[in-house]
């Protein structure tokens, strides 16, 4: 090693450090078990599309499958699995110290975690959801399904990355959130869908196509704004925790 050089070191470039975090998190998340598990959830969505092909109104039937199963259950579960673990694993394994003790702005790691989660969820879950109307014989619904699923994936990524940093047993909290908040309450409590991701994803699905979604919280434009805002809010909440939390 040479003589002390840290005094003259330059601040690392944002693009470099963000890419380093992103690449690491992608690598640590890609385990065969996770890929196979999430791909199985995606395969069920496509299977539902095949079954709805025989429905008289296959477009509406496929939209029901996309809304109820894809957006309401499979997508949040897949994102929950990846999102809570992307940083939660590092906390549990006490590895976060290697990323925290660096001259890097604290907003970067949570952002990389949200992006890495969304990056994995898109091919493994969003694409199968988007393909569901196609195999059902309703290709006109594909763009709306893709847009709704992609935005919902982003929103869920923000929520679950934050949960992974805030809660010790984030997966269980997340599971309760998906089943009770995003499903039971969204469907059963009148007006509650406005407070759910699945409600606004349904709004995008409905607004961008000629089908109706199982739950719908408002207009297409509002849906896009709210889902992006939820993702950003989740990221910011994660940043707050990352900045203030104490590390082992």
């Amino acid at each position: 090693m040479s003589a002390v050089a840290s005094g003259g070191a330059r601040a690392p470039r944002t693009a470099t450090t963000l890419a380093a975090y992103y690449g690491l998190l992608l690598k640590t998340q890609l385990s065969p078990a996770r890929v196979l598990g999430i791909a199985a959830l995606g395969a069920v969505s496509i299977l539902l599309g095949v079954l709805t092909r025989f429905d008289a109104d296959s477009a509406q039937a496929s939209a029901d499958a996309v809304g109820a199963y894809g957006l309401g259950l499979a997508l949040p579960l897949a994102t929950l699995w990846l999102g809570t673990l992307v940083l939660g694993d590092l906390v549990e394994d006490r590895l976060l110290v290697y990323l925290w003790l660096k001259p890097v702005a604290r907003w970067q790691l949570p952002l990389a975690a949200v992006l890495a989660t969304a990056t994995l969820v898109v091919p493994l879950m969003v694409l199968p959801i988007a393909v569901t109307p196609l195999v059902a014989g309703a290709p006109e619904v594909v763009p709306a399904a893709f847009l709704a699923a992609a935005l919902a994936a982003l929103a869920y990524s923000g929520i679950f990355v934050a949960a992974g940093l805030w809660f010790r047993r984030a997966a269980w909290w997340g599971l309760a959130f998906v089943l009770l908040w995003e499903n039971a309450l969204a469907y059963l409590a009148e007006g509650f869908s406005r407070f759910t991701v699945v409600g606004w994803a349904g709004a995008v699905l409905e607004g961008a196509s000629d089908v109706s979604a199982p739950v719908d919280a408002g207009s297409l434009a509002a849906g896009v704004v709210v889902l992006v805002a939820v993702a950003v809010a989740g990221w910011l909440v994660a940043v707050v925790r990352y900045r203030r939390g104490e590390l082992d």
Partner: protein
């Protein structure tokens, strides 16, 4: 003490609910190697976490190069940490692990810097195995490599010699000493006295969350050498044995413990050992057990704290 301390802790306390991990600790450390010595649970790792900004002191302040490591992200550029935990990134090779640290520190040629750091700690940069496939000693050296890759001014090493074989220990101790001689502030924690002796002369001793002693290792060593040893003897005639040992002046003091035990204080364990058997034979006492107490490091620290 250095004229311009690199690391300063002032009245630092840290508690978790009712548990006080660190209590009112103050010290300053300058360039060179300083050993933070203490038994397990003394609060060394908690102190290190606060020095690196990983934890906020409940009370008091920590400054590294005059800056708050908790709030000032920029000061982390000057800090290298080898944490105590053994976990490593499962999917990274040693080279990827160290290059990641180099990238996050903004080094211009992260791969080359990683190679250099790995070679410095005696690891092969071309080793294609992931870190979990490394031996414990190799993983430990990889952790040291990631801590020094950016030439930090302050190096915080939490039990860095754990798991290393004697040869590796010698090499790393030499490296730490060299880094200290080059002007870096190297703080090394250990619960092994012999390790500390080789690391350098300045020591901070922590016990039960408090700073028990600070200063030159050789003074501490002398203090410990003067420490009376405590020996427990179980026998069927403790009173007779006690009287005879006091008569012969073989002990500094003693205490009867129950019906069959004695606790003896002696400055010369060998003299006591020589005296004990003949005295017991003369008094017709059977020696059921002879055991040295306070031989562990905890006992040593307790003695130091009492002084």
């Amino acid at each position: 003490m250095s004229a311009q301390p690199t690391v300063v802790a002032e009245g630092v306390s840290k508690w978790f609910g009712q548990l006080v991990a660190v209590s009112d600790v103050s010290f300053d450390v300058g360039p060179g190697v300083t050993a933070l010595l203490g038994p397990n649970g003394a609060g060394k790792s908690t102190m290190f976490r606060m020095l690196c900004g990983l934890a906020q002191p409940s009370k008091g302040t920590v400054r590294v190069l005059g800056r708050d490591p908790r709030l000032d992200v920029g000061v982390t550029r000057a800090i290298g940490l080898v944490p105590q935990q053994e976990t490593v990134f499962e999917r990274l090779t040693g080279r990827e692990f160290v290059a990641l640290a180099a990238r996050l520190h903004g080094l211009g040629e992260p791969e080359r810097e990683a190679e250099r750091a790995l070679e410095t700690v005696g690891l092969d940069p071309a080793d294609p195995r992931p870190l979990p496939a490394y031996s414990k000693g190799m993983r430990q050296r990889a952790k040291v490599a990631q801590a020094i890759v950016h030439d930090p001014q302050v190096l915080v090493l939490d039990e860095p010699l754990t798991g290393l074989d004697p040869r590796q220990r010698v090499d790393l101790v030499a490296l730490f000493r060299r880094l200290g001689e080059e002007g870096r502030c190297v703080i090394v924690s250990s619960h092994v006295l012999a390790e500390v002796e080789r690391l350098g002369s300045r020591v901070l001793v922590m016990s039960q969350g408090r700073l028990a002693a600070a200063g030159d290792f050789h003074d501490l060593r002398a203090l410990m050498d003067d420490r009376p040893l405590r020996v427990r003897v179980r026998t069927d005639r403790p009173r007779e044995l006690a009287g005879a040992l006091l008569e012969r002046g073989a002990v500094l003091g003693l205490r009867l413990d129950g019906d069959d035990s004695l606790e003896l204080d002696t400055a010369d364990a060998r003299a006591l050992a020589r005296a004990l058997a003949p005295v017991a034979r003369d008094r017709g006492a059977r020696l059921l057990e002879v055991r040295q107490l306070d031989a562990d490091l905890e006992g040593v620290f307790r003695y130091v704290v009492e002084q």
